[in-house]
Symmetry: C2
Subunit: 482 residues, 2 copies
């Protein structure tokens, strides 16, 4: 808070390691009851922490002293006979000042407010209570995460806020003003075998804010790529400075919402954010070489290229897949996204025709439209050369064939996946794989199985050629900028 | 063929009803064997026609006279003791001239060539054989569909080329140069409860071409909306004229591929199409009020608005859904796509706060971010007014809640769907529903169930707010142009 107030728009230099917030020895969840209410957040927090394997002491607080099997419940944080490092508040806003005072007395280091109804509501009382709890923290060592947020996920230390989060760590980090978008990012990434060092859902950010968290993640050796969902910032100049330093160390992918009038209004009522001018944001993000995206899906797309694909030196793309029409559209999609799809040299083309025969359709110019999936591996090894191409994109449209039986479709899909897996690790390993064009339940099932198999093998897998191509192009832009 | 050659760029006026091609009394499939080859197209065609319920006579042709249980196989089309209206060729290209001569002698009306290896291959022999078979047809009444295509789907008369196509008719028609894209369009649409009057996969279009088919569909009383996938046209001026007439009668949604250098090259080797300048295409499509899209998914998106949503008069959109972050991004997505998301009048806002309470989050400005799904119906009835809004968009992000149990998620999703279904038919019925942000297997399953339930109730259902908003905006543009 102090560092924030002192900031002068220069690069953030205060010593503000937040390592300790991810390593509490004890956590108290305030607002835990055994009640069967429609949505019992306190109970869920403590259950999820236990399930996620938090190894320190775990306490519940309920002024009425509810009994919850498996957990020790106190009526006040001050009653807990041990030190408490971390408090999660799931109580109504009106009780929060008292809780803050108790936490200061108890020597709590961090309090995270799931509680909402602060600055984001229209009633002026929301802002007033924010100021009141900030005032209570001031001068103490108690720091605030939120309010109006889901908090921290760090699999390594058993911090979590969803039972669906993987109990497995990785090198992607995400910080978001929206809890829902944070959950969406984690599940979307995990579905592609991308895991997290840390996730921070930070809501209204009245104390610890976007600059603090980004500074920490930029310097976190366990984080290789950072994703950010922002609605607004507390101090734009500070944030720009921290972001500039961060992008020099690792890629930072930013979804800045509230970029239209309606979005700005929505942001204000969601996290009390002042979204700011979209033009200024875009220009700032470009200047500091942050990668701008417009959805959580695209954010994970870009992260996937950074984390699952070796650095890409250029834009020359070889497209190999099935389907004539799908290949034409794929060529357009790649080119429109900024990639180059050069014609295959005629020598290679003739070699491919010799391998495949030309009578049953197919094209060997690039895109290569390959009816003979059994020859995929051989074709890729013949066609792909690092002198001529920088990127190898393989794609499989699932509703391709009219006439084909289900049995044969199964065979074709398995052959496609197995050929790519055989190429994995070689210089002919595709950079990205696109599994697209499925809508029937059967095709979807087939696609999901192929998706799981290829992600497990380490491939970056996409749902459309357009999304893959756009993500690749953004990654190339990042690498190319100083 | 003649009409095409005589065309002078004026509006297509020849009498060229193609009604008869969709109503053959008898079909002969050439190249039917009982063999267990990897891909036996002839056998598949005849099986699919039987399965699709074709009611006329069905014959197989195989020079070696193969025996196929359930079908009568002749060694030559001329041997068939009945008239043959329609022939499907699944034989190698070198045998096609002889087949053409036999068909002329037999008095066949239409021949569709699944066979490829014609003008689309690099070998000059491909073009030569195209000219040869055209020459054989010339002067006779035999017309050609294709070559290098999958042919016709018309559920009403039992014509089909995929066992996955619905045995049910609707009022959407599709014509495409790519068989794979035609299959993709049908399955994608059927997955949203959109069905077809006719589908035409027409490949190289050496005789009956895009202008013939479009003219027919424009005048087909069973077709309300037309989707077109094109790589190139035989006669641009004719096509522009037919298209102009067509768009005055019904919406025509066009995916023109081969719009980049690489796409043009791919189109040439796929259907021998001369793709033409992208700038000229775009300007022509705009001029004639055709709706341009860039993927099959988007084509079905737009069709879905035309077919499943009443005409939309303006752009003022009320967005109701779950999730703070998802709402902010939704507001941006709508605005960026050209829609307007006006603030809800303060009177309505206060009413909504009275209904919902303001303490547990949520926003009532527009987007309405509604935590209390149980109040959805009540909130929509209070907030939506035709004086203030033209469009009602409801959305449900599936990875929204971190803390919520699976049981509760099931309840929330069912409540969301049921509330919308209760509103269906009333003036508060949402125009479009977006089910988005699912990636885990469980969330996907839940989303697919909700999707099926809402599509069955007649809603236009989308995968992202961005896609819904873009489709809505394109439909409004169509309605607004003269």
């Amino acid at each position: 808070m102090d560092a924030k107030q002192e900031s002068s728009g220069e690069i953030y230099s205060a010593d503000r390691s937040l390592e300790y917030i991810f390593h509490p020895n004890s956590i108290a969840v305030v607002g835990v009851s055994a009640g069967n209410s429609f949505f019992n957040a306190g109970l869920r927090y403590i259950q999820i922490l236990a399930w996620a394997g938090f190894k320190g002491s775990l306490f519940g607080i309920n002024p009425q002293g509810s009994e919850v099997p498996g957990f020790k419940i106190y009526t006040n944080v001050k009653e807990i006979p041990e030190d408490v490092d971390y408090v999660i508040s799931a109580i109504p806003v009106k009780f929060t000042p008292e809780l803050m005072r108790d936490c200061v007395v108890k020597g709590v280091k961090v309090i995270q407010f799931f509680t909402s109804g602060f600055g984001e509501i229209e009633d002026v009382r929301g802002k007033q209570i924010e100021e009141e709890i900030l005032g209570i923290a001031h001068g103490s060592s108690l720091r605030i995460i939120g309010p109006n947020c889901l908090g921290l996920y760090c699999s390594e230390t058993g911090l979590s806020f969803s039972p669906e989060f993987p109990q497995r760590s990785g090198d992607f980090a995400f910080m978001g003003q929206s809890g829902g978008n944070s959950v969406h990012c984690v599940t979307e990434a995990a579905n592609r075998e991308i895991y997290f060092s840390k996730v921070i859902s930070f809501g209204n950010a009245i104390d610890l804010n976007e600059s603090d968290f980004l500074y920490y993640l930029a310097n976190d050796p366990k984080t290789k790529v950072i994703g950010v969902y922002l609605e607004g910032v507390k101090d734009g100049k500070s944030f720009a400075g921290v972001l500039r330093e961060a992008t020099l160390k690792k890629p930072v992918i930013v979804l800045k919402s509230g970029s239209t009038d309606a979005g700005i209004r929505a942001a204000a009522s969601h996290t009390s954010a002042i979204a700011g001018s979209n033009a200024i944001w875009q220009s700032m993000l470009n200047q500091v070489n942050a990668i701008q995206v417009s959805s959580i899906g695209e954010l994970v797309d870009v992260a996937s290229i950074f984390l699952q694909v070796p650095p890409i030196a250029g834009r020359r793309t070889l497209v190999v897949g099935l389907g004539g029409g799908a290949s034409v559209v794929a060529a357009d999609d790649c080119t429109r996204a900024g990639l180059i799809v050069p014609s295959l040299p005629s020598k290679s083309r003739l070699e491919l025709e010799n391998i495949c025969g030309s009578e049953i359709g197919g094209s060997f110019r690039n895109p290569i439209d390959l009816y003979r999936v059994d020859l995929l591996q051989q074709v890729v090894e013949k066609a792909y050369s690092k002198n001529e191409f920088d990127i190898l994109l393989a794609h499989m449209p699932f509703e391709l064939y009219g006439l084909v039986t289900d049995d044969l479709k199964d065979v074709v899909v398995k052959m496609f996946c197995q050929s790519l897996i055989n190429l994995r690790g070689s210089e002919y390993s595709p950079h990205v794989v696109v599994l697209h064009g499925y809508s029937t339940a059967k095709a979807r099932q087939r696609a999901m199985e192929a998706h799981a198999m290829l992600c497990e093998a380490g491939f970056a897998v996409f749902e459309t050629v357009e999304r893959a191509a756009r993500a690749i192009n953004k990654v190339i832009q990042y690498y190319r900028q100083p």
